[in-house]
């Protein structure tokens, strides 16, 4: 059974419809990339999946024992965070807030979980550093460690490589792939179609035309050829640059 199933989903805000008749499902172990132009409703879809806002029509159903607060979310950075005085440990630990529920303080297990996830992301040595002094890539690792404290099943990443340089971008993608190999289901919003078709098992393309299917099907489809064909060349060029 699928973790997430979207049925005839209509998305929008302030009575303006952005996307209509969205149907897709995410199974355990999938790596789904959600691609589409600016303003096509990607962020609205994320907020709907997390139930931060209600869909205008249709529904999102959870299955296979997945609870709503078991989706680990990696949001885009906000202005508030840029000069926020908080240590890495404090931020990662705040990922346990869903587990803690109404309990006011974090338990020993939750603190241990935070340490484990910092180790997993290779940021244990940064634990006492201030978040605002870190590089963009390090900050993303911190937020990823926090998201991992919230979930063992599904990660939802909203443009995790935005603003990162090419080398750090590759490291980030490798990290995400490694997590997927460990069995964590990945949903990723991306602008980077080349990387999407390279890493993902499934693609959801939203915009004037909607596509949902496996990456192979996407590459064979009209819309996939149109978008990915161009990007494929970019990836080859990019790959040379990294080598």
């Amino acid at each position: 059974m699928a973790y997430l199933t979207a049925k005839d989903l209509t998305l929008g805000y302030e009575n303006r419809v952005v996307v209509q008749n969205l149907n897709f499902s995410v199974n355990p172990g999938d790596y789904l990339c959600i691609v589409g132009e600016n303003g096509s409703g990607k962020t609205t879809l994320v907020k709907t999946l997390l139930k931060l806002q209600e869909p205008m029509g249709g529904s999102v159903e959870l299955g296979d024992g997945l609870a709503r607060n078991e989706i680990g979310y990696l949001p885009q950075q906000t202005i508030v965070q840029r000069d926020f005085p908080a240590s890495v440990r404090e931020i990662v630990l705040s990922g346990c807030q869903g587990r803690a529920g109404f309990r006011p303080f974090y338990s020993r297990e939750e603190k241990k979980l935070a340490e484990e996830n910092m180790a997993r992301m290779g940021i244990t040595n940064l634990a006492n550093r201030c978040y605002r002094e870190l590089s963009g890539g390090q900050q993303q690792r911190v937020l990823l460690a926090r998201a991992l404290c919230a979930t063992r099943k599904v990660l939802l990443l909203d443009e995790p490589v935005a603003g990162l340089d090419p080398k750090v971008t590759m490291e980030m993608y490798d990290l995400i792939r490694a997590l997927n190999k460990e069995g964590i289901t990945i949903l990723m919003i991306s602008h980077d179609i080349a990387a999407a078709v390279h890493y993902a098992t499934h693609i959801l393309h939203i915009g004037s035309k909607i596509f949902f299917g496996t990456t192979e099907e996407y590459l064979a489809s009209d819309i996939g050829r149109l978008f990915a064909g161009h990007s494929e060349k970019c990836l080859e060029k990019g790959g040379e640059a990294h080598a």
Partner: protein, 280 residues
Amino acid sequence: MLETLKFYMNFPFVRYALIVGVLIALCSSLLGVTLVLKRFSFIGDGLSHVAFGAMAIASVVNLTNKMYLVLPVTIVCAILLLKTGQNAKIKGDAAIAMISVGALAFGYLLMNLFPTSSNISGDVCSTLFGSTSILTLTIRDVWLCVVLSIAVLVIYVLFYNKIFAVTFDEDFARSAGTRADRYNLLIAVVIAVIIVLAMNLVGSLLISALVIFPALSAMRLFHSFLKVTICSAVLSVICSLLGILISILWGTPVGSTIVAVDVVAFAICWVIGALAGKRG
């Protein structure tokens, strides 16, 4: 100097002023960190003007205890301001500015139209700058202040982790199942209570200083939320204690002396922070 101080300490109103001053400084600095980080530095200003307007209405209708009107009105405004913060038609800073000057204007207008004493400008001045009210506290005021401060402290400690989570990343907090709107509501109510309390101490024009200066000073020095919060509380208490003592010894106005000490403390912290930053 110590002799003079001992002499003044014999008066209960001086002791009351010190107790209330320290408690208010402590409470206001705690939430200051959250408000500064949430870009709500001016909410103290806005709400205190609302409280000023409510105070004017209360004196016009001749309420015996003005708190019954001032506190609810301020709380409602705080909720409105913090609630509409994210996706309102009128953005946060504009909404605060609007309510703030609007309330100030209506308050002053009412006080002039229905004067309750012969010295209107004196009344207005003491409400705005809190010049004497802290020295005229009764034992009942002090107890009210003690009880409310303890409530604020307990709430803050119990919800510390949630307040941190909601301040740092509201979307993530909501996705993890934290009821962010409820915590925002809680913050709004608590800040309104603190501001109404603090009006006695520094008056409604200078309240922002109590809320933001200790937080900003602490942020120059420390890099973790816990340390910043603790440092800001300690700084705030020391500054207001110093301020009250100075004003007693040299007869300066209480509110503005406290704020002046806060400004000096900020300058010192800024220099220390800059030097430490260069070395590191």
